[in-house]
């Protein structure tokens, strides 16, 4: 990962929502990098801050939001940019795919027109040229009969087709970074497989980096290069896909992996995590996972653990990270 300059670098990124008489820190001191062509998965449960992190990178956030830290994209300081500079990047260099394509698309324009708009916003091409490109893009993402389908409205598309159209729109300007926020959560499993395949093909064809935000560890296992796990607004662990799945040194990551029912193995009882995630308005003083953690000691209640590097890109936020035994790797066995 080192050597080549990262495409995106976030440092101590924090996002706070201010309400009338309370504030919610949705993202706390998150630092990470994405290299060109890399797939970085951000996993976490609802409220962990994974989507807010992505929206902050795009500077798509509601008013009364305070963003601190540094975000550098392709050598540019994202948080210092003017709104018009930002608009030039958004949709061209960084594009986003949302969970629900029905609400993310405009219902009164045809799918083709919407892709044309995305293309012409950033390129000086005629609408005819843009239309041809839109049809090509729909073909690329596997929309059958793209000529006719381009002239249809979003409601005439099925969920899976709409998500393909969203991907077509997102890649219309060959973005360097594609942020996919729960891109398949609303889809059925056979359609999810189709859409993930399209994303994979798109990555191969365009070489863009992908930030995949999801709660589904299965999806991560099949598609990511690197993973970062978030919990209660903070990064808990980050590392290569094998670091996280086989050499995790964080109790939350391990507990999360163990709580998933297996498709192929029998399990007597599931290793559930007791309790509930903490409230973000009144976060605990120490480790946010402490109250639910089977390894918690007094120190975890009192002091927030730092994200400590364990070697290479692997880092874990846990006072007892070094005590966690790592599965002995058996080559070829699984």
């Amino acid at each position: 990962m080192s050597g080549a300059a990262p495409l995106l670098r976030a440092e101590d990124l924090s996002v706070t929502f201010h309400a009338k008489d309370s504030q919610v820190r949705a993202v706390t001191d998150v630092s990470f990098e994405i290299s060109p062509g890399e797939v970085l998965a951000v996993v976490g449960e609802s409220g962990s801050g994974k989507s807010v992190t992505a929206l902050a990178l795009m500077r798509l956030h509601p008013r009364n939001t305070e963003i601190t830290g540094d975000v550098e994209f392709d050598g540019m300081d994202v948080l210092a940019m003017s709104e018009s500079e930002m608009r030039a990047i958004r949709g061209r260099d960084i594009a986003m795919i949302f969970q629900d394509p029905m609400t993310a698309m405009n219902p009164v324009f045809t799918v083709g027109d919407q892709i044309v708009e995305a293309i012409r916003l950033h390129n000086a091409v005629s609408s005819k040229e843009a239309w041809t490109r839109a049809v090509d893009l729909l073909q690329l993402v596997g929309v059958p009969e793209p000529q006719q389908r381009a002239a249809q409205y979003p409601h005439e598309y099925s969920g899976g087709m709409r998500q393909r159209a969203m991907i077509a729109m997102a890649i219309s300007n060959d973005p360097k970074l594609l942020i996919a926020d729960e891109p398949t959560t609303a889809l059925d499993v056979t359609v999810q497989a189709q859409v993930m395949e399209v994303l994979h093909d798109v990555k191969e064809a365009t070489g863009s980096a992908i930030m995949l935000i999801t709660h589904d560890l299965g999806l991560v296992a099949g598609s990511a290069d690197r993973v970062q796990v978030m919990y209660a607004s903070r990064l808990m662990e980050t590392g290569s896909i094998d670091d996280i799945f086989y050499r995790s040194q964080n109790p939350y990551t391990k507990a999360l992996l163990e709580s998933i029912p297996d498709l192929e193995e029998d399990q007597e009882t599931l290793a559930a995590i007791p309790g509930n995630p903490p409230s973000l308005t009144r976060p605990p003083r120490g480790c946010a996972f402490g109250p639910r953690c089977s390894m918690a000691i007094e120190r975890c209640v009192e002091k927030q653990p730092e994200l400590l590097t364990l070697g290479g890109t692997h880092a874990s936020r846990c006072h007892r990270a070094s005590e966690i035994e790592v599965e002995v790797e058996l080559e070829g066995a699984s």
Partner: protein, 364 residues
Amino acid sequence: MTDVADVSPYESHALDDLSAGEPLLKVRNLVKEFPIRAGVFRRQVGSVKAVSDVSFDLFPQETLGIVGESGCGKSTLGRSLLRLVEPTAGTVEFGVEDVTAASKKRMRELRSDLQMVFQDPYASLNPRLPIRDIVGEPMVIHGVPRKEAKQRVGDLLARVGLLPEHGNRYPHEFSGGQRQRIGIARSLALRPKVIVLDEPVSALDVSIQAQVLNLLDEIQDEFELSFMFIAHDLSVVRHTSDRIAVMYLGRIAELADRHTLYDEPAHPYTQSLLSAVPVADPRRERSRQRIILQGDVPSPAKPPSGCRFHPRCPIAQEKCVTEVPELREIAVGHQVACHFDLKPGETLIRRTEELGRTVDIAGR
């Protein structure tokens, strides 16, 4: 604390003549169609065939999983068993009694034995009622004395992992997982025999999902319950169910015990579905071959002729277009609705290749 599993004065006596080994529920040729109306006069212009000719048994204390993608009719099936939607045709026998022929009054009595837990813990609890009323309401309706009901509410809340004093709070004060526990406590209030669980954990985060699944497992043993577990998540269904029915567009495609279904799926749809599920294990993911089905699930308002899976099936033949495959038994307890079912150990990929066709496979 009294043993909550133990009191049962409100039962319907529908099972009194049931002999051992007999199914609790016998569902036969169940059909549910919803009319599609259009125009000024709301004339019926068609119908959505949500459930078509579905038959199965549910045995005492077993969990029957019903899996399928959205629109396959699994939720409608669950609801029509309890007559929360009125079935169009077919019968549901609970013990020796025909539920579909029961009067309104009798149905109310039967519902003390047949309960339901819904998917959305936010929508299925009345926001204006405190928890003790939500959980206690079924008992009040069925004439349990208030004092006893109050006592039982406290016991039930404790049993599902809440505190008795939570009874005074309102639904909005609880998290999704806690609300689902409340829904489970309510379903247990009348000491039912069968609970239909409609996607009980799909709105929950994984860490909470495991808690609720374990709770369901415990109460099933303790209250000697039969579950019908409706879900789209095949890993969850495998974990919870003894037998599993796979539905596609309103019909059962395959039904078998869980090991047979997951190890030797005979229906092309079951095989593709299982191969499409991502597994949280990168090594296994790298070696897996994923069958990518073409297209989407067709609309249940215009289901394809013959086998409803044929437009997406890589091994479909002429016969599949014209003839509806019956659900037939290919081994003891293993039923499949396919004219050209896959044999044990045979993969859909190999069968497709033998036919000289190609199937879209993803795998890295």
